[in-house]
């Protein structure tokens, strides 16, 4: 059974079908990419799967469990984590604290124990601090471990989101355009990072515009166009697909 199964998924916004009748399956342990021209419905698809939007029709199964319409904070319990295309970093906190928030569900969140600083909480927090710093080094942010989030450049914030998502120890990680707005050097760093994450056993689902990166690291690619599934297959298969070529060169219709 696939880790993630999406069948006949449809989302209608006031008459507009942003995603229509999309089906696909993601096996555990692979890098699965979703590509398509602007407005193809990639981010909407992500928002549907991660619980931000409620689907109009269709099913989403994680480990065989139907998760369509389940709230995002519940999905986190099932091992789902994500980053955002337009940054969602908490600018009122330090970089390290942002990563520590990622570990939310793995901590004792009791208000009173926290206020009275129970030794168990203090110990766990100290360990978490180390863990979070380690994650920041992993994503290449060692220079920002003591920084406040609002003092960090764009490229660093994109990676901070990845570190936060990893702090949740997810089984499946959704990355929404992790390389958007980055320079070529940063992009290749993210490229390596995604591979590293996948190799550690986390399933990665990726939306990305950077074709070189997608073709490089994806085991499987889904192509969307006008909210519909256009093609699915390996990088080589997708690259040869005439429909995909037409959609990207704009010769269809």
């Amino acid at each position: 059974m696939a880790l993630l199964e999406v069948s006949n998924l449809t989302k209608i916004f006031g008459g507009v079908r942003a995603v229509q009748n999309v089906s696909f399956a993601v096996e555990a342990g692979i890098v699965y990419s979703v590509i398509g021209p602007n407005g193809a419905g990639k981010t909407t698809l992500f928002n549907l799967i991660t619980g931000i939007y409620v689907p109009s029709e269709g099913q989403i199964r994680l480990d065989g469990r139907d998760i369509a319409g389940v709230a995002p904070h519940e999905l986190a319990r099932f091992g789902m984590a994500r980053t955002f295309q337009n940054l969602q970093v908490c600018m009122n906190m330090t970089a390290l604290e942002n990563v520590m928030v990622g570990a939310h569900l793995r901590l004792d969140r009791n208000l009173f124990k926290g206020a009275l600083r129970f030794p168990s909480i203090a110990r766990r927090d100290a360990a978490l601090r180390e863990e979070a710093a380690e994650l920041m080094r992993l994503v290449g942010l060692e220079a920002f471990i003591d920084a406040h989030a609002d003092a960090m450049p764009y490229g660093a914030l994109k990676r901070l989101e990845i570190a936060r998502a990893l702090a949740a120890k997810p089984r499946v990680l959704f990355l929404d355009e992790p390389a958007a707005g980055l320079n070529p050097k940063e992009t290749s760093e993210v490229d390596i990072l995604v591979r590293k994450v996948a190799d550690s056993g986390v399933t990665v689902v990726l939306v990305e515009h950077d074709m070189k990166m997608v073709m490089n690291i994806s085991d499987q690619i889904l192509v969307l166009d006008y909210g519909r599934k256009l093609a699915e297959g390996s990088a080589a298969e997708v690259r040869r697909n005439p429909d995909v070529i037409a959609a990207y060169l704009g010769t269809h219709q």
Binding site: H73, C90, M93, M100, R117
Partner: protein, 309 residues
């Protein structure tokens, strides 16, 4: 773990310890006590407004519930002060919990409106139920006796409140740096980001709202017993605004800012008594001036200026 977080706490403890020996008379001691009471309420409110990012323009309503629970239950029903205080806190907490779900679906100005409405309704009830509350004239409150010990005189109250304030400061500092506190700040920073890492946003907003309401109610009870008298002013809109102003002037999301804001705004009316009729104008001008030139509040502005965050 940086110990420096608690430097401020130690400084405040030292100041509190020597202050009574420097103050010339009970007038100043009384002022210090009222500053400490306000500082405690403002701490709780800052957790809600500054850290969780949820405005409340009706918090004096909860202070009023505590104050009147202590006054009414002890006077009319001869409850013990402690039981009355706890009943008030329970009432405030239950009310906060009941309205929290629908209220925190609201954002920005709609949330401001809803909390303002809640506070005003509470203050109107207090004003109208004269048979119980004495109406606009208010009513006396017996002294605070805990078991066989009775707190009386400014000196005793001063030490009791110093203890409460230091404890509240310590607990607040702990809280904001605990998993609960980080989740709270995260939902302020980005609600959706906090959701996807597993923060049940509605639950956290409810929890901190109830917590700050209960705390406000407890401090309302303390105020009532200390002053020995309550009037509906304790619950009214203007008092809510005063509390929010203390939060904002001191600095949103600043623990020590809460103390500074409470100290300054409690002292301000005293400082303005020389203005003969112009107090309101001066008070309003100072509010505007502070907010225009230090929109982030005193403590964060100064901290940024001297290179510390």
């Amino acid at each position: 773990m940086p110990r420096s977080r608690f430097t401020g706490l130690i400084v405040i403890a030292v100041v509190l310890a020597v202050l009574p020996f420097l103050l010339p008379n009970n007038f100043y001691l009384d002022l210090a006590i009222r500053m400490m009471i306000n500082a405690c309420i403002v701490l709780g409110l800052n957790l809600l407004i500054g850290f969780a990012g949820q405005i409340s323009l009706g918090h004096a309503g909860f202070v009023g519930i505590g104050a009147y629970a202590s006054a009414v239950l002890t006077t009319h029903y001869s409850w013990s002060p402690l039981a009355a205080m706890l009943a008030g806190a329970l009432g405030a907490g239950v009310l906060a919990a009941l309205v929290a779900r629908p209220i925190f679906k609201l954002k920005g100005h709609y949330l401001a409106m809803a909390t303002l409405g809640l506070g005003i309704i509470i203050s109107i009830i207090v004003r109208n139920e004269a048979a119980l509350t004495g109406g606009p004239d208010g009513m006396p409150v017996p002294a605070l006796a805990l078991f066989s010990f009775e707190i009386s005189g400014e000196k005793q109250w001063y030490w009791v409140l110093s203890g409460i304030l230091l404890l509240s400061l310590w607990a607040s500092l702990n809280l904001i740096n605990s998993p609960f506190g980080r989740a709270l700040r995260a939902l302020h920073g980005s609600e959706v980001a906090s959701q996807v890492v597993g923060v049940d946003v509605a639950k956290y907003k409810l929890a901190i709202f109830v917590f700050s309401a209960v705390f406000a109610s407890l401090m309302g009870s303390v105020t009532a017993h200390y002053v020995g008298f309550v009037t509906p002013n304790v619950a009214d809109f203007f008092h809510s605004i005063e509390l929010v102003t203390m939060v904002v002037i001191g600095g949103m999301a600043s623990i020590y800012g809460s103390v500074i804001g409470a100290v300054l705004l409690t002292a301000l009316p005293q400082a303005l008594t020389g203005f003969e009729g112009w107090e309101t104008v001066a008070f309003g001008s100072i509010l505007m001036f502070c907010m225009i030139f230090m929109p982030k509040g005193l403590v964060p502005t100064l901290a940024a200026k001297f290179g510390r965050r």
